[in-house]
Symmetry: C2
Subunit: 747 residues, 2 copies
């Protein structure tokens, strides 16, 4: 059945070939003829642009000197043949830029020679020998990387198009580009015809070569996908992600529609958004240049340009992206994809001077018109700092699949990232209502991120490690509630994909009391979770703190585990615990098998405290405990014979045999320690007591007594978050009246 369809498409494709014609000027993708004229006339006058040209020249010239290498494909990511072919397309794209800018023939010759080497090779190239992928490529182990190749090489081809004879072009197109595009599309619909970052790359790659070749059929395929792909419903990829979902469209426009929320949040999370932004923006730009009438940049209320802003906001003070879902830590807005994204967003957006603040930090620009404009902006002193504020992003194509709330205080002195989003496709984690906390660029409470060493071949070929599934995706790996030692949705991707958490409210209108609150009723059927996070700057406290309320209501009695993955060295605790003589794993599955229990104990009083020193600041977790609670200090690393996991620690509250409860906690940064002055300042918590003073369906309230004599109260309206609704509540004989979703009495 599927075979037949493909054959039909192939016929259609070869018919399209005959419509081939040289009807456009070149370059026309990310560079244009008039754009190139501008670049040339500005050479020597725009320091950042000139510096980038020199840097790229040095790289490309070194590669030209080393010769052209197109080895027979063999390795996984990180291996020689993989790295070599990757370098080839990156260098060829840059050589194309240089050819247009400098008009130096050597760059054109280099590209031409490389393309013909590929042309000679591709004809007879079998499918890549590594068999792990659900969609194996030819040059690389997966179609994804082949698509990278085509997207970059299209730009190189475009740059030297006019230097080639018609015959040469026909040879390249018939033997290399068209079969290449067909292979990653109609021969691999399971890769090409999805809503997924993989498909975005595939669609954009096919679209790019379609624009160079002026091939309407390929462009149609890029924009709208393969109409009848013959795929079965319910098919899954390597990561367990769905390939075919009923009623779902495909192609670039569908990929633009689906994964982005109206706010520009990308459902897979910032790490993958960063990766996907390149094909989105590059093909978006090419469409803007070649088919402006299609208004790709303006699609869905400018979602592509909004997404750049969203992505920048999804980073810490060092520009590193929050590792939500599968995210490798350390990836930042200094990556080449973001250089591309920021320059394009600046030039084609509203020329926001804050974007130039990022350009200045990146200290590199794209070698096209947008890069030039950005570099001119910097030269002319237009840059302003990209100040990040609190912000709430909706998730889902319609913006109704939960979201991510980011609370910030000061100049990113404290940043909280609260995830109440949708599953996030195949890269999602089972971490409903979890959060991470940053102080400037330092993690205070971490999100573990992925378990993978991207491109490091020795670590599972640079691919996802099995611990990504056994540990990183599991609920217990996150700062949220695990019930009965099972992950949310029992770790089922199918189930998780059906639901998203619900925002109760988000309110950053008062910088001193910023609140985000959301509920999750599907992760554990019969159990309702409601988490509220407030970032509070209290007059009696040196620094802002986070109040963390997790209200749980269940039809049954359960065991609740509630960890905090703190980053630093333990300084002090006020509970009794003992370290076992031998370290044993905490459990057998769902991530528990990877945790050692280094210490185990009981609260000594109702206000349990635990302090640590992380990156020059002291932090204290204060949490209201029951005498029956268990407190554990755990460390990652059990059942990890290959040392794939980082040996990091957590403190975990375990509450047994409980239906309804509230985990009420404060994370309080305080003081400082310098290893140079050796001065230890304010190393103790300022909290004397934290207490849940009221909890029913309608309201949850806590009191915080501090050591300066203050007594504060925070009350949450659990059911009605309307800002205009009036409330009245009597607690311990005292009546509180307020309007809105919450009440805070700074005592």
């Amino acid at each position: 059945m599927r075979k037949l369809k493909i054959t039909a498409l192939l016929v259609a494709a070869s018919l399209a070939v005959s419509s081939y014609a040289q009807s456009r000027e070149h370059p026309n993708l990310i560079m244009t003829k008039t754009g190139v004229d501008q670049l040339r006339s500005n050479l020597g006058q725009v320091p950042l642009f000139d510096a980038t040209v020199e840097l790229v020249k040095a790289q490309v010239d070194a590669e030209i000197a080393s010769g052209i290498h197109t080895p027979i494909p063999k390795d996984f990511s990180g291996g020689y043949t993989h790295q070599r072919h990757k370098l080839n397309f990156q260098v060829a794209q840059k050589a194309g830029n240089l050819y247009q800018i400098t008009q130096d023939e050597k760059y054109a010759t280099y590209i031409k020679d490389m393309l013909f080497q590929y042309e000679a090779m591709y004809k007879d190239l079998p499918i890549h020998p590594q068999e792990r992928s659900y969609a194996r490529g030819k040059l690389f182990w997966q179609c994804l990387n082949d698509s990278n190749w085509l997207l970059y090489m299209s730009q190189a081809y475009d740059a030297i198009y006019n230097t080639l004879t018609v015959k040469e072009r026909e040879k390249l197109e018939n033997n290399l580009f068209r079969p290449f595009a067909d292979y990653i599309s109609i021969e691999n619909p399971q890769f090409y015809n999805r809503v997924h970052n993989h498909s975005t790359w595939g669609n954009a790659a096919v679209g790019m070569i379609a624009l160079v070749m002026d091939d309407a059929e390929l462009l149609q395929r890029a924009l709208h996908g393969i109409e009848d792909d013959g795929l079965e419903l319910g098919l899954k990829d390597n990561d367990g992600g769905f390939i075919k979902v009923a009623g779902q469209k495909s192609g670039f426009l569908a990929n633009l529609e689906e994964p982005f929320s109206p706010d520009g949040y990308f459902t897979e999370g910032p790490y993958y958004q960063r990766y996907a932004m390149y094909p989105y923006l590059i093909f978006g730009l090419a469409m803007h240049n070649v088919k402006p009438e299609m208004k790709v940049f303006e699609h869905k209320d400018n979602v592509l340009l909004k997404a750049v802003d969203a992505l920048l906001n999804l980073s810490d003070a060092d520009g590193e992206f929050f590792p939500l879902n599968d995210g490798q830590k350390g990836m930042s807005y200094y990556s080449p994809e973001l250089v591309t994204a920021v320059d394009i967003a600046y030039h084609y957006g509203k020329q926001d001077p804050k974007l130039l603040g990022i350009v200045e930090r990146q200290n590199l620009v794209l070698l096209n018109e947008s890069g030039l404009t950005s570099a001119i902006g910097v030269r002319d002193g237009k840059a302003k700092p990209f100040v990040k504020k609190s912000i709430n992003f909706s998730d889902g194509a319609d913006g109704k699949q939960g979201g991510v709330g980011i609370l910030r205080y000061g100049n990113e002195d404290l940043t909280l990232v609260f995830k109440y989003a949708a599953q996030g496709l195949s890269h999602g984690h089972y971490d409903k209502l979890s959060y991470s906390l940053y102080s400037k660029g330092n993690e205070v409470l971490q999100d573990y991120g992925l378990s993978r060493f991207v491109n490091i071949q020795q670590k599972g070929g640079g691919n996802y490690l099995k611990e990504n599934k056994t540990w990183a995706k599991q609920t217990i790996a996150h700062n949220t509630l695990t019930q009965n030692q099972t992950s949310h949705f029992k770790g089922s991707y199918e189930t998780g994909s059906k639901f998203a958490s619900d925002l109760h409210f988000y309110d950053d209108s008062n910088q001193s009391v910023q609140v985000v609150s959301a509920t999750e009723n599907n992760a554990y059927p019969g159990t309702e979770m409601h988490r509220t996070l407030a970032m509070i700057k209290h007059k009696n406290f040196e620094k802002p703190f986070v109040l963390d309320l997790m209200k749980v209501k269940s039809e049954t009695k359960n065991q609740y585990d509630f960890p905090f993955y703190f980053m630093g060295q333990m300084i002090k605790k006020n509970f009794e615990s003992t370290s076992p003589k031998k370290l044993k794993p905490l459990g057998k599955k769902n991530g528990y098998q990877h945790l050692y229990v280094e210490s185990k104990g009981k609260p000594l009083n109702d206000t349990t405290q635990f302090s640590w020193l992380g990156d020059g600041t002291f932090y204290t977790l204060t949490t209201a405990t029951d005498s029956a609670d268990e407190i554990m200090l755990t460390r990652i690393g059990a059942k990890d014979p290959d040392f794939n996991l980082r040996r990091e620690a957590a403190i975990m509250i375990r509450r047994n045999d409980t239906k309804d409860t509230v985990f009420a906690s404060v994370i309080e940064p305080h003081g400082a320690y310098s290893f140079v002055s050796e001065l230890s300042q304010n190393s103790n918590s300022n909290i004397e007591e934290l207490k849940v003073i009221h909890n029913n369906d309608a309201y949850t309230a806590v009191s915080i007594k501090d050591l300066k004599g203050g007594s504060s109260v925070f009350i949450l309206a659990n059911k009605n978050a309307s800002t205009s609704k009036s409330h009245q509540l009597k607690i311990d004989g005292k009546t509180y009246k307020w309007t809105g979703a919450y009440y805070f009495l700074e005592g």
Copy 2:
């Protein structure tokens, strides 16, 4: 007996009071009248000096605004009363500088008021309530901190001396300064009359106040100690250090003589050298100003100024001191003590422009003539980078107690710190022939340093933790050989203090093959250890590597443990090992009780390899193994219920039942990984085989086969290190001839 002596001294001291006279001009310690005139006339013209004045003004003004607080002493380091009194003397000293520079009376008044508050308090002040110290202070828990107070306060007093009436001075001197000086000296000879950094502080403090008060008897006591202190031989302090050693002199001059080697290396190590430099240089400077005829700076061939240079050389590329012996990591040449040291060394030394390179980085200067000269030098563009090269320091007053050899390649791209020194007084570790390795400012193989959280009260009052003795000092905590699970000298300080290792040779004449080699025959009686470290830049290798040969010869069969405390995440290993289901400590004592065994196995071939990723660079340990060797991956953290230790890892080779052997290893940095570009370059070792091809009393030789087809040979002459001696050796039918201590064939 002791009581009697003290009484006699007290009589002498009170006699000295009558010789009190105002015979000198003030200030005369670290500031002088002519110096102050210069400072004033240059105000507004020397940016770095002006900026420092402004910074200090802001600090002092804030303190003046907060009032003067002299609480009744109560706390350990890190506690309020400790911190407060510490801040007082620091601020008073600065206020003194400001008074002289700005002539603003408010600074003089502040100091005067504070001094009289102390005068009123001190008379009736009992000994500090905390009982832990072998020499309890009055304001602080130990005389050491009281000495800090007096040394700083003397400067403050000197600065406002001329603003006080004779009566006021008499009151302060009779009720505060003289009893204070007596208390830390004649009433605590066990603190004052030693060769130790504690005594240096005591001596300098007494000397400083002697110079202000022009008191010859106190000055005599400062310079030469207490003649008959009544102390018993063999007394020890809290750290287990000797207080009284037969025949040892005392006082400042003895402290200047004894702990410094002729090269300026301080036997306790750089962390304590940094701490001690302040009293050495401040009192040295005061003596230079008041008693230039005594030539303190010139003493022992300018050892004080040499010591500043030595200390700067004992730092990594970030300026952080190597944590030899008890050293807290993170302490660096950005500390206030080093600002003082570098400015004084520049001004009173040879005005070395490289020192200005450090001044520029410090971006702060001392508020006196040397600070002004340094700031003027920076302003006038005289600064040059402080380029650190390979260097060998002798240890011991006579330079014959072993030493520390530092090999560096490039611009601190690779730095090796080899310790073959003396015990290092009470802060010494049992770590003969151990080494640590750095790449720029990053640790590749670490020295654990001390186990203490200096000034963090929650951690044992900020004092040394018991784990300093049970872990940090033990041999197994270091990158060296442990025999039969016991530490060097059986961990006996008395025994260790009798011996030092012996340098075989040090040769950095060839940047591509730098070698340091030393022997240790006393750590384990009957066993000879001979370690040779070569930093080699080989044509077939991308980066320099370290060849590490530890030759062991013993009269008996032993178990040898040989760890490498690598910093980073394991990437690959070529031996078979399994992780136990439960983690158990490796042993019961001598540090072994703190190690978990995370994985245990056997070599699969004679060349065992282990790679890790640390700070963006790959590293591989290649080591020649026997099939009977055990290989363990260990982690610190067992028997540590208070989480005082850092959970860091090691790979350890265990060789059982062996008399003579060679541990031959290569530590090879290679490639790079970026979390932004995600490019993994050269992630595999270039070594195919490492083999010991010859080993007898006369020669030890290894061969290194690399993956580029090279085969290299390194031969060490074990007995004769003469550079002129000719050698000839036949190995596997091939004859090698060379002259000098070693031979390297780059094949």
